[in-house]
Amino acid sequence: MKKILAQAWKEFRLFRRDKLLMVLAVLMPIVLMLLAGITGSLRLRNVALLVYDYDNTPLSRTYLEAYGAALTFRIVPRKPQESPERALASWRSRAVLIIPQNFERDFRRGAEPTVQLMIDATDSNSATALGNYADSLNTAFAFQSGVSRPPTKGVNLQQRLWYNPGLSDRVFFGTGGLGLMLIIFPALLGALTTAKEYETGTIIQAYASSLRAVQWILGKALLYVVVGMVEFVLCFTLGLLVFEFRFPSDPTILLVATVLYLLAGVFFGMMCGNATQNQSAAIQAVQMGSFLLSLLLSGYLIAIRNIPIQIRWISFFLPATHYIQIVRNSILRDAGWETSFMPLVMLLALSFAFFLLNAVQMRKMQFKG
């Protein structure tokens, strides 16, 4: 135990000397989490809509108002003599609404005039959503103008949105972002410090000392877990301020999970450092292994169920998958031990597995006797 602490203290003195590293390790998670959380939103707002109103009657203008009043669309002025295709091709708008002549007359007659909506579908996801928005605006317009009536019989859905009634995606990306930050930076620090030992050759000293492999690993990990806890506190505070986090009623689950998660991250990073023995290669390995995979496959951006089955199994072996689930359980659902039990076990298993791999890598290289 004493040796572990001594190793951690030595690490700390090294870490302290690198001022830039220290500042970055603390500052970067906050800045990144803020940016990722705010820019990640998938909800459409202020989409530029260009309007060609060939009818130009009171009714057609009322119809346009329905679009203008929605938060999703923002009607932009059109240049004279500009064709809709050209406007779309040059990013002047994301959608074009064309109202035909005799729109009002046909509508009053019940002839159901056709309105054309041209959508820039380079971003197919937004395009689909825009089409659906326009449909519901259209139906609402028909009901309001009294031409169509909402059904009086049939089934009515009473919707309740639990845990996030305002459908705010800030909470969602904020909690995911917390998980992402806490895997990137501890893993990165772990990888850097280990690879550096190889590059400068100081690893030989560790081999030659009476320190055992396990002690060396734990001592190094201890410091970076502490650094990670500082990052956790900062990110959580940011979450409270910006991302509508709530204090879970039982914070112990979250704390236990965080420690396990940080351990998994640091051990993973050290594993990369051991394997590559070169700082820039280690960073690349961490970038691929922890950042990219966690970003894509941990349920941060897209639900795990939607990932193609061929690569979905990978997400099961990512610590981030389980941690993000625990964070969301604790902060948003306020769930207890029962819900978070399996993810906790998985976190424990993963961090232990990474630790074992480290120990094996190191043991091979220790001097005998």
Binding site: L35, E112, L117, D123, S124, P151, R160, Q279, I302, Q310
Partner: protein, 388 residues
Amino acid sequence: MPAFIRRYLALLAKEVDQLRRNRVLVVQLMLPPTIVLIIFGYALNPKVRDLRVGIVDESFTAESRDFIDALTQNVNFNVTHVYTRVEDAEAALKRLDLDLFLVIPVDFARTLHRGQMADVQVIIDAVDANTAQIAKGYLEMALQNYNNSNLGGFGTAIGPRREIMLVNATHPAPPPGAPDVQAAFLYNPGLVTSWHYVTGVMSIIMFINASLVASALAVKEKETGTIEQLLMTPAQTGEMLFAKATPVFVLMMVVLFLSLVVGMLVFGLPVRGDIWLFALAGALAALAGIGIGIMIATVSKSQQQAQLLTFFVNPPLTLLSGATSPIENMPRFFQKLSYIDPLRYMVTIVRGVTLKDAPWSALWPNLLALTVFSIILFSLSAWRFRKQ
């Protein structure tokens, strides 16, 4: 041959030699376009499918079973559990066994037969706001179809549309009398999701890799101390800088076309515009990326610091560029901020050339901005380099 060209060539030969020995770096450069692009393209699919639905059917009649069938007979919903008590369903939602559940009240069939609106409760786990929103939309669509077909929900009024029986899988027909919105999806009528991401990631790779590699190469000189030797030679800093940048630049252009080929072969990405514009934008982006990389290298003392700084600089550039999520969705301040992100222009041009065949009048401002940025970044890095 003028002296400066001779010196440049000598320096270039040295850089190429160094790069050739550094196999890891070359692999690092070639790997992302192939692997990352494919993973991104396949994994980032925001379509929501297979939502797990629980049912609490208190009515337990033929009508209620009919209703459940009508709602869940598509790929979007999967009835996984049937409960007898609401409390059980609630617990399951809390355990994450379900995404949503329906509660059909006891008097469901009776109310329907009386010709009134029957209320059905649906509870959705809204932690993932986007998925919840989409699930809501699916439900409403399925419900509207049910009301239209099974019960003639909109009364007996028959509009012209009803007579030809417009059958549309994704949209239920609007109520009779309402205008018909005909949506035309331009540039991507098949709504292929991967095109958007692949073009975005392609641009990101150009930038991030160029800066990463350039900073690694430049700082290495500093770390090993050979920079002193370089500074002692008669070579000018400008020549040194160009000699350093040239091999990276050439490699990045290879990466650019490699990623385009991967996009075309694997994802069927179309190239509708002029390819030379694409190449030009790629070249400018690579220059800007190299500029950023060298600037980072001049600031930092070790490779460790340089890599960390690139880690600090690149994600904001990526997030603000609109490569993965549309810029319009961001708060206004961040939209303004995105104008000083050179990557934004690169993404726009790449999409404009491949997907859109955008007119020159729309492309040149982006090209100009990108040029200005790469000139500024490159000369700033030259200035910093000289100051060492």
